[in-house]
Amino acid sequence: MTVREYLSPRSLPEALSLMERYGPDLLVMAGGTVAMPLINDGISLPERVMGLRHAGLDGIAQRGDVLGIGAATTLTQLLAQDAVPLLREAARNTASWSIRNMGTVGGNLFTPPPGGDVAVALLALDARVRLAGPRGERTLPLADFFTGFMTNALAEDELLVEIQVPTTVRETAFIKFGRKHANTPAVVTVAIAVERRDGRIGTARIALGAAGPHPIRVADAEAAIVGSALESDAIQRAADAAMRECRPFTDAIATEWYRRRMVGVFVKRALERVVA
């Protein structure tokens, strides 16, 4: 079916009411960088599409220790903020300039692996997502948002409206390793955030992209460095644990074998970057 209607709500309530009216067949699109190629190729043939570019869902606001990032905030806007350096680094390593001007932070959470590099950073930052629907709003940890390959906790009538990121995390590292330096899918993406107590790691979050059906955290690897001062043997234990825990896949870019191996290399390198 060629598209019969393109809906461009001007507010969140308008967007929600359109979703209610048209139900689950309404394709919701933000920057279009994932949906439009499929529509152009005739792979996706939606009848109705709702575009969020003008729905007022973009913008970044600091509220206390939390950075509120509107779901339709572009990656370029994310690159411009300096409250959370890890997110800047993640945005810088995602796609190309023109695509960053279009692609959104919210959309990044719906991008199947090996895409979704910003989502990996958000996971390491212990971000929360705010969802809105006819029954009101709820927030949940990003870790609970992902439920499987291209599936999530969003109800059919809910919309992702905001991502909330704590700005208190100071020690972070991000490495996206691809076959090229820029504008390329990840072989593996590693994002790390740690907090120290008396020089030792108190909490650690190690998130991986392209190493599972969605961005994942590797608990054993995190445990391997908690209580350490990131000595090299602790780092190696974490890298080894991450290799065991990750669930990589084979695609046109890399094999499962190579991705797993690179998880080890880049968890190590990212932790070494934290030390430096």
Partner: protein
């Protein structure tokens, strides 16, 4: 499938187009307005040959429903080409033979224009970063990087080209 009218700014004037829902800006520019510098290398956002500027920011026109640029200012290679002669970036592309088949060239010049508007004195690193979304199969990129460097030198101190 009712058509709607969309108005945006192009080449310093308002243009009004009647479009079927979700027609891309690329298709409107090429097939309704005859702005065929906007190329169709992939229509997947992967090659940059359709790069245009929307309110001065580079975007892939193949991924933009034209409804989304209503009221915005769209800049294409046609609109930056002077009535006589060529823009300094265009001249630099000629001087450095920064093209072979020419199919990626409009997009390359538009992303270069965006770069030099934002950063009149880009480092080589900034240039290759800016070019990362624009593919060329013929030149090996080096002549294009050299052309952007040349254009930056040619326009340095003269203010950003229009």
């Amino acid at each position: 499938m009712a058509s709607t009218i969309v108005t945006f700014e192009l080449a310093g004037r308002e243009v009004e187009v009647m479009v079927k829902p979700m027609t891309t800006l690329q298709a409107v520019l090429r097939y309704q307005l005859g702005f065929t510098s906007v190329k169709e290398g992939c229509r997947q956002g992967g090659c940059g040959s359709c790069t245009v500027l929307v309110d001065g920011e580079p975007m892939m026109s193949c991924l933009l429903p034209v409804e989304d640029v209503a009221g915005r200012r769209v800049t294409t290679l046609e609109t930056i080409t002077p009535d006589e002669g060529v823009h300094p970036i265009q001249q630099a592309f000629i001087d450095h033979t920064a093209f072979q088949c020419g199919y990626c060239t409009p997009g390359m010049i538009m992303i270069s224009k965006a770069l030099l508007d934002h950063d009149p004195h880009p480092t080589r690193e900034a240039i290759v970063d800016a070019l990362a979304g624009n593919l060329c199969r013929c030149t090996g990129y080096e002549p294009i990087v050299a052309a952007v460097e040349g254009a930056a030198q040619a326009t340095a101190g003269k203010g950003a080209p229009r």
